[in-house]
Amino acid sequence: MVTAKLSLRDAPPIEIPVSFFLTAPLFLAAAGVVVLFGGADVLANRWMPITLATAHLGTLGFISMVMLGAMYQMVAVVVGHPVPWLRSAHAVHVLFSLSVAGFCWGIAKTEPAVVFAAIAVLASAVILFIVPVGIALFKAHSLDETVFGIRAAVAFFFLTAAAGIWMSLGFSGMGFPGSRVLWSQAHFCIALLGWVGGLIAAISWQVLPMFYLAPHAPSSLKWTVQILAAMGAIGPAILLGVDCFDLLGERPQLVESLAAAAAVPGIFAVWLLHPSVSAWSLSKRRRKRVDGSLLFWQAGLAMAPLTALTAVIAWSTDTPRLGVLFGWLALWGWVGMIMHGMLTRIVPFLVWLHRFAPLVGKINVPSVKKLHPDALTRFGFSLHLGSLLLGVAAILTASDLLCRLTGLSLIATAASIAFLLLRVLQQRPIS
């Protein structure tokens, strides 16, 4: 039996994670606006500036925004060590929001000065985030699969940001660091497999038993997922170094193929093994009731193997539309579904924990389920699923009308997330 003294200082104030969570739907709505007004051009080719800008509104503005906010909460509660200099989180929130907005604007409008200023601000936000969170993670008492997964995810967030900032110099009037295909391929392998995939897996080991009474997956499988996900991100990162120092000579196609091969363990772990283990665990949950947030998990997990299949097809055929389809399925199908579902479950939990738990046993306190109606979560799920399917149809048919409808449905989904969050955050004990 492992024995450890827990640090039980308070979790961060609710304002810290919530400020990030509330900003995320704004960026999602902005992505919807770009797709609505940009039409078919936005979803045609991933190298188009407008497409890159839209993708980063999703990856940085929505996905990473939620993950950064959640990290402040998780490191304190799950890892068991508070994040030092907690007030810096407000600065991270402001700097990150401004830099993402500036970065996407600068890329979409091809404004090198704006991109350069934005990445300078982004770099400071990343450092302000990494240093305190890294210190808390370094001081963590235990090293289980979740702690390892969170540590690795934070390290890959840093690598993703570093590679991204370096690549962005290409848009800010300076040169691109190397082979464009290799760098972008490595950038999204580190981001999707190491940062996002590693963190989703690490958190799922805690969240699925806690919120859905799903049995814990065997420890060996959890470690396998976390280590393979990390390997899938480290391999392409190493090959960036190989490319930088020309260690394999002028053979870009060989390095690109090696980078793709190096990502295979991560693809297997994140898009095949983790969804299988989690789906098995959810199928064995002790309570068979299906609430709205569970639908998001099930849909997100179901999208993962499709994402892997599309990644393989897109890479081997080099068809621009399939590349966009892969990004759409990965970001809005797999990650987007899971993030949206987690928000609908975790924000009510945080509100209950911060505002109602201190009053339990003193006054009648509502259950967490009374803080938000499940119908609202299910409505959000319908909108999300509808926008996902519309987007798939729009990308495959290149229909301008469907693209604009996809943009509209993204805006509607963002509005439903914002409405749900604001409604839950308005809940306070009756004095």
Partner: protein
């Protein structure tokens, strides 16, 4: 994982043991001996290599609250309390944060010197912080890598 936040008593309220013998009679004797040595207010978890449901009735005759559950293939966990103790509250079928809510409600009812023991589906970090704030003594331990046992006492 095990943690505590006691202000008074200095012995473990949640104890763990393992009986390796596969022979039920020898194991039963070992369980009864450990039960007799268990101080009041404590809970003992014994990991066994066979299904102990056959002698739960014997333990009930001793007046000792006992529960068993299968935790893996050919592994069972037997939870025992000394005779006459308040029975363990099993909250493993409740989703977060209901176990925390139930324990805080039950703790609010405790008289000085009284205690309760509950099983929760996960290690309850947020609950422990609340118990600290309210001045309760507590001890928590992960019991089988999945659930956790929580002892809560109101200082006398």
């Amino acid at each position: 994982m095990q943690a505590d936040g006691r202000t008074g008593s200095d012995f473990e309220k949640i104890r763990h043991a393992r009986v390796d013998s596969d022979a039920p009679e020898a194991a039963r004797a070992s369980v009864v001996a450990q039960l007799q040595a268990l101080p009041a207010g404590c809970v003992l978890e014994i990991e066994l290599g066979f299904d102990p449901s056959g002698f739960l009735d014997d333990l009930a005759e001793h007046g000792a609250p006992a529960r068993s559950r299968k935790i893996a293939r050919r592994r069972w966990l037997l939870s025992l309390q000394p005779p006459g103790e308040r029975e363990l509250i099993d909250l493993c079928d409740l989703e977060a944060p209901l176990p925390m809510q139930r324990i805080l409600e039950a703790a609010a009812e405790l008289e000085p010197g009284e205690a309760l023991i509950a099983r929760t589906p996960c290690f309850p970090n947020p609950l422990l912080a609340q118990l600290d704030h309210r001045g309760f003594d507590w001890e928590a331990a992960e019991s089988d890598g999945a659930s956790a046992l929580v002892w809560v006492g109101r200082p006398g």
